[in-house]
Point group: C2
Chain length 361, copies 2
């Protein structure tokens, strides 16, 4: 797998020009670019620019609206439901988080469920917006059905991630962003490219038997909920994925369970959809709605330092705090550039040619 | 392991007399009894009446206050922090949920973080209170440090459960109540009594090596976060347990991480505690703060029926919805009685004699 390092600014300019080309306003093209490339910066390569051509194909088939009228369709002082008008999830989710933050300023917390949206990139980008206001941010989304609940052959849930981002004082923030499966689909794609077996508990075959074949999803297999099997708590991963579906879609009127629209534009949409588009759920909680910010921050620093100082099992692998690996990746990649596989670069060049815009290099 | 079936009413009368004896008001003795025995009814035997003598020992050493002045010490329209005044968590958490529900009635959602409390029984009892008002309920609590974060030898977190209870229409409610470990401590205790090995991924030894010894916690071992090891997503279980600690204690001013007070009254309290007692976090979200209740309920019914109708892997094991096994247990146990091991009954008889109240039979 050959890789090349691309400076962040160059990748950002290119991505912005793509979003502008399909009709995004310059402000929204910049926002969508920041949201998308936050994945590449944080080392979540499966969710970043590698998906750009996928987003554009959704626009080409009419499933993404580049000029959405994003609006609140129901609200109370602490809640809202947002209709994303088929906009890019990158933008819709960010606007929904703005609304959650505004409500938190007024009444302590804000909770926004979103219908009629599309894939929103990584949850952490949206949740972390709340950190700017000394708020705790939540972000969830449902996604294409690839996951079989415990005891099931059928794929009924997406990898349905949950992110909670909480500020600290002198320490960097706590940022936990996790797919509710044993491994996210991106991890499986890496094994496919390397032609390596998957660990036990990641996937099952069409009949529901344990499998280690990273390509098994192409022949009716499924990702497994966090835990892998019943003995190891897969019913808990299934419950967590279900919770994400409830908050993202049952509260908003988006599609849920097997009816969530698939990401690849060539996969036909499910018939008789019960809702609109993909659903997200955003939350913002003002720290000072609970206690003085400085008290919270000093204890949060103590909490974080306690975990970092824990006795490691192996001397060469210190105990980490959620968000540590992604922060290290971001610092490295801002300095040295973002490693893109040649296949991804080729895909971006083809995209540029098709849209008749300047190539990446 | 000999067991005997005890009718719910008899167990309830006995438990109420115990709580009354230590000084609880008659209303609070009844509430604490309902909360505690909801575990026995729902089949979570480790968290029910088997712990009654443990609660009383905490009262005997002065750690539980039977006449607490439970009060709000900080609030906004959608949030509150409650000081539990060292009351029984069974009561404190229930009062905190009342406050969350009241706030949800006013502004759509209510979120209450609790300090200075004790163990609250099962999370589901508290979260399910919200169902009465067509609200979604959340309950979390931190707990005695028994869990080692990924890569760590040290025990820094409790089994820190998360419960979300969501109403449905014609279907029974969705109730997901899960420890953020591969297996809860109660499951390990069952294996200890049976003298059976634990599955891989449940526990590690003092040096951090994988172990299958169910007694390993007595020699410095630890429970493992949901996932079990890094390859199977233990960093996600660790992050979830950490999130529970943040909401329960960092927002409230309770103790956190290794400083959470241990449940057994004979274990010395940690020195230099950073907060007060154990922490909980309760939430209530009005469904109609998001969409009309009838719309939500009809889609929730469709969601639930879709999962129940999924193709099972084995014909004799249908796909379940979170809350199904506990609801079945409750129906059986209300009818036939609650199975108590003779050791538990003996412990309750000794408790009765010590308190000079009428024995269970």
């Amino acid at each position: 797998m050959q890789e090349r390092l691309i400076p962040y600014d160059r990748l950002s300019d290119f991505t912005r020009s793509v979003f502008s080309h399909i009709g995004c306003s310059s402000e929204e093209a910049a926002l969508a670019t920041r949201a998308l490339l936050s994945a590449d910066l944080r080392g979540i390569d499966s969710h970043g620019v590698a998906r750009l051509s996928g987003y554009i194909r959704l626009w080409e088939v009419g499933r993404v609206n580049a000029r959405p009228h994003i609006r609140v369709i129901h609200e109370t002082p602490s809640t809202a439901v947002v209709d994303g008008d088929r906009g890019l999830g990158l933008i819709v989710a960010s606007r929904a988080m703005d609304i959650a933050r505004e409500k938190a300023k007024q009444v302590g917390t804000g909770w926004v469920s979103v219908q009629n949206s599309n894939h929103f990139g990584i949850a952490a980008f949206h949740a972390m917006q709340a950190l700017e206001d000394d708020m705790i941010g939540w972000a969830m989304t449902n996604a294409s059905p690839l996951v079989a609940p415990t005891f099931s052959k059928d794929r009924l849930l997406g990898t349905n991630p949950i992110c909670v981002a909480a500020p600290a004082g002198e320490e960097p923030p706590f940022v936990a962003d996790l797919a509710t499966t044993t491994a996210a689909n991106g991890k499986l794609e890496i094994l496919q490219r390397k032609n390596t077996e998957a660990p036990s508990g990641w996937v099952q075959d069409e009949a529901g038997n344990p499998s280690t074949d990273p390509n098994i999803l192409k022949s009716g297999g499924a990702l497994l909920p966090l835990g892998g099997d019943r003995d190891h708590g897969s019913h808990k991963g299934y419950a967590l994925g279900a919770i994400v579906d409830l908050f993202s879609a049952l509260l908003s009127g988006a599609n849920y369970a097997p009816w969530v629209p698939p990401f690849p534009a060539y996969v036909p949409m499910p018939a008789q959809q019960p809702g609109k588009g993909i659903g997200h759920f955003m939350g913002a909680m003002r720290v000072d709605a609970f206690r003085p910010v400085e008290d919270y921050k000093s204890h949060m620093d103590q909490w974080i330092r306690g975990f970092r100082a824990a006795q490691p099992i192996r001397a060469d692998q210190p105990v980490l705090v959620p968000g540590d690996p992604e922060r290290v990746a971001q610092a490295q990649r801002l300095e040295k550039g973002i490693p893109l596989m040649e296949t991804v670069i080729r895909d971006l060049q083809e995209l540029a040619d098709r849209l008749n815009i300047t190539r990446l290099d």
